[in-house]
């Protein structure tokens, strides 16, 4: 990806574009949450979005896979522009369903299906949407559960899991789809430091495989370690962006300085 | 009102409705109406108050019935379950008969009841009608409320418990409102059903709209017109019921996905 605004470094642009957002706007009623946000991520990029609570991070992520209907702007996924009606809703349900199948999403509130066990949650989409044979999906799901340390909880229903266990199950569920790109909404908020390290390793491995990731996080240390590009959102606009070393090392905007002060 | 009529399709619907009414008035035989109008008014009034009174009383009964089944100890849950099952399991007509001709004909056997001040009331049919309809509504809605109480997420109750909310306050302020909110659409339907169940009390001589319409049909052998008028009356009452429930539903916005 290239920071279009603060494009400091000229990267070799040989990697294909994975996700691009142009001038994205979103209002809830009269409350304008996103005021024209642009972003570009190439395959293998890890873009971290940071910003204050309520600055529109989740909304931005949710707009990218059209869980919210944008009020304006343009979204391109895997080089394919999402057709939009004038009101911002996707014009072709088919297209949006197909694109979403290549996007894994981990929600801020996990949203595990309460009527399915952990294992069933993981294999639901692979088996019924992507038509992976059940045995294969289960094997893959078990491997993922093992990796996030949930092997013994595969038969448990989500309501009986601890917060961190639910979050890990949600991450595993998204990974189980083997998506080409992942949208993470604070994927480590309920995890202890050890597990945060584990998730970090997973994200790195995925990036190395050429998958794209956009992640919202409040942990600056995490963002710094994992991201190839960082976006600071303030009040529905990109206040500053750039590679993590630059952004965290030498923030330019006053607001970002203020925001990072408490981290130091 | 103007905002309501702004969308084009609403205007079309309204015109279509008006045309239908005009056709009905013009093409059908309403000559019987003046003779039966006072009777109809009395019938409408009976329908309205019977429906209103029995749904309110029934709901008041249904709430403890449902709650006992959802969260009560077994010695409350089982009787509540038995009551709801029996009420829902037998035809309302049978219940009305049993209460009026069964229970009601027990009273006159005791001379002291016949002599008492209550007799003029017990002698009439409407107390039995109210009792039967109330129990019926309570039985059906007890089941609905049972499900509603059960589906309030546990975290919502725990939040209240954790702050030391006494049981009754918790029930009144958190559990019941959330349960009711989930079943308002169901309850509005069941209330319309209750209105449509009131004609059964004609068998015990309580005259309401349906009985009047039937009478007109039998007297004159005119088939459709009295029933149409009946439908219009029912429609008006049902619209009020639906609007009232819709109003309650709108009081708290739901986030739809």
């Amino acid at each position: 990806m290239t920071g279009t605004t603060n494009g400091v470094q000229a990267q070799p642009a040989e990697r294909p574009e994975a996700i691009a957002v142009r001038d994205l706007r979103k209002s809830f009623g009269s409350h304008e949450v996103l005021k024209g946000v642009s972003m570009r991520a190439c395959e293998g990029d890890v873009v971290a979005i940071i910003g204050g609570s309520g600055s529109g991070k989740s909304t931005m992520l949710r707009c990218i896979n059209f869980l919210e209907t944008p009020s304006g702007g343009e979204i391109t996924i895997g080089g394919e522009r999402v057709e939009m009606r004038p009101d911002g809703s996707p014009a072709s349900r088919r297209q949006i369903e197909r694109l979403r199948q290549s996007l894994g999403m981990v929600f801020q509130s996990f949203n595990l299906w309460t009527h399915k066990t952990v294992l069933e949650n993981l294999i639901e989409v692979p088996v019924h949407v992507l038509k992976v044979p059940r045995a294969e999906a289960e094997a893959r799901a078990r491997k993922l559960l093992d990796r996030v340390g949930l092997a013994e909880k595969e038969g448990a229903y989500p309501a009986f899991l601890s917060g961190g266990q639910q979050q890990r199950a949600a991450i595993a569920r998204a990974l189980c789809m083997e998506p080409r790109a992942m949208l993470f909404d604070e994927p480590t908020s309920a995890l202890d430091p050890e597990l945060v390290g584990e998730v970090l390793a997973v994200i790195r491995a995925l990036a190395d495989e050429g998958r794209t990731m956009i992640l919202v996080t409040h942990e600056m240390k995490f963002a710094r370690e994992v991201a190839s590009h960082v976006i600071y959102l303030f009040n529905g606009q990109i206040e500053e962006e750039g590679p993590p070393e630059r952004l965290f090392g030498a923030p330019r905007s006053e607001r970002l300085k203020q925001f990072l002060k408490s981290v130091a | 009102m103007i905002a309501f009529l702004r969308p084009r399709h609403r205007q079309v619907l309204l015109v279509a409705g008006a045309a239908l009414v005009a056709w009905c008035i013009h093409a059908l035989d309403w000559s019987w109406l003046p003779a039966y109008w006072p009777l109809f008014l009395r019938g409408i009034w009976a329908t309205v108050w019977l429906t209103a009174l029995t749904t309110v009383l029934g709901l008041v009964l249904a709430i403890p019935l449902g709650f006992a089944q959802a969260a009560g100890p077994w010695f409350l849950a089982w009787p509540a379950l038995a009551f709801c099952t029996i009420i829902r399991g037998t035809p309302l007509l049978l219940q009305i008969w049993l209460i009026y001709y069964g229970l009601g004909s027990l009273f006159p056997q005791f001379p002291w009841i016949r002599q008492s001040d209550l007799w003029p009331i017990l002698r009439q049919a409407w107390p039995y009608a109210v009792l039967a309809l109330t129990l019926s509504y309570a039985g059906y809605e007890g089941e609905v409320m049972r499900g509603a109480f059960k589906s309030v997420p546990r975290g919502q109750l725990e939040a209240a418990r954790a702050m030391g909310m006494p049981r009754l306050t918790l029930f009144r302020r958190i559990w019941l409102p959330q349960a009711l909110r989930k079943v308002l659409p169901t309850l509005s339907g069941e209330t319309v059903l209750q209105m449509k169940a009131t004609p059964l009390v004609a068998t015990i001589t309580v005259v309401e709209t349906y009985a009047v319409a039937s009478r007109v049909r039998q007297d004159t052998f005119i088939v459709y017109e009295p029933l149409l008028l009946l439908a219009v009356v029912y429609l008006a009452i049902a619209a009020v019921i639906v609007l009232v429930f819709r109003h309650f539903e709108r009081m708290v916005p739901t986030r739809t996905a």
């Binding site: 996990f110 | 619907l13 959802a70 399991g89 589906s151 029912y234």
Partner: protein, 240 residues
Amino acid sequence: MSTLELLALQPPGWGGNLLRGLANSIQIAVGAYGLGLAIGTAGAYGKIYGGPVLRDLLEVYTTVVRAVPELILILILYFGLTDLVNQILVEMGRDRIQISGVIAGIAVLGVVQGAYSTEVLRGAILAVPHGQIEAARAMGMPAGMLARRITLPLMLGNAIPGLANLWLIATKDTALLAVVGFSELTLETRQAAGTTKAYFTFFMAAGAIYLAITLLSQWGFARAERWARRGEPAVAAGAR
């Protein structure tokens, strides 16, 4: 005749008639309920996700059909409509048609049940936490599959009590079909009682039959609800 003789399965006992009436009632009830569920599901989705025109039309449907007595609907459909169609056919020089009373009955009761279940299902779907549906959508689940595998199973726990009520009402509403000369349980009961004057015996017998149906249904619905609520922690669990 003694009670036992009255209820004997062979004529002059009326037991056989009652059972035949029961079979007919259940046939109608199942048909109408199934049709109602199909209409109700579509109606609920239409009311939640449909455009303003569809929503208003559905509102008119649910309000009108629920309010108008079933008797009117069946009279209009079975007699009025066939009369109209036949007049047209005769004008055109064709033969008169005769729709079956059973089909008309199922259609009318089904359309009415559909209006009620629309509202029951709408409430139940709205009570599903929105995140559960969004999660499926975010993974590209097609709408039909999402309804089948996520929304409907999740809302079932909320809907079952209301749906159970509708089913029990359907089993009793078949009495309406007497109008088209179809002999179901209520009519058979009235015939037996009226002919023999043994009112108490036959009404109690009918009551017992209905109660048996109810107990059986109750058992089935309770099982379905337990299944639907798997994974939900008991609401009263934990310290009070």
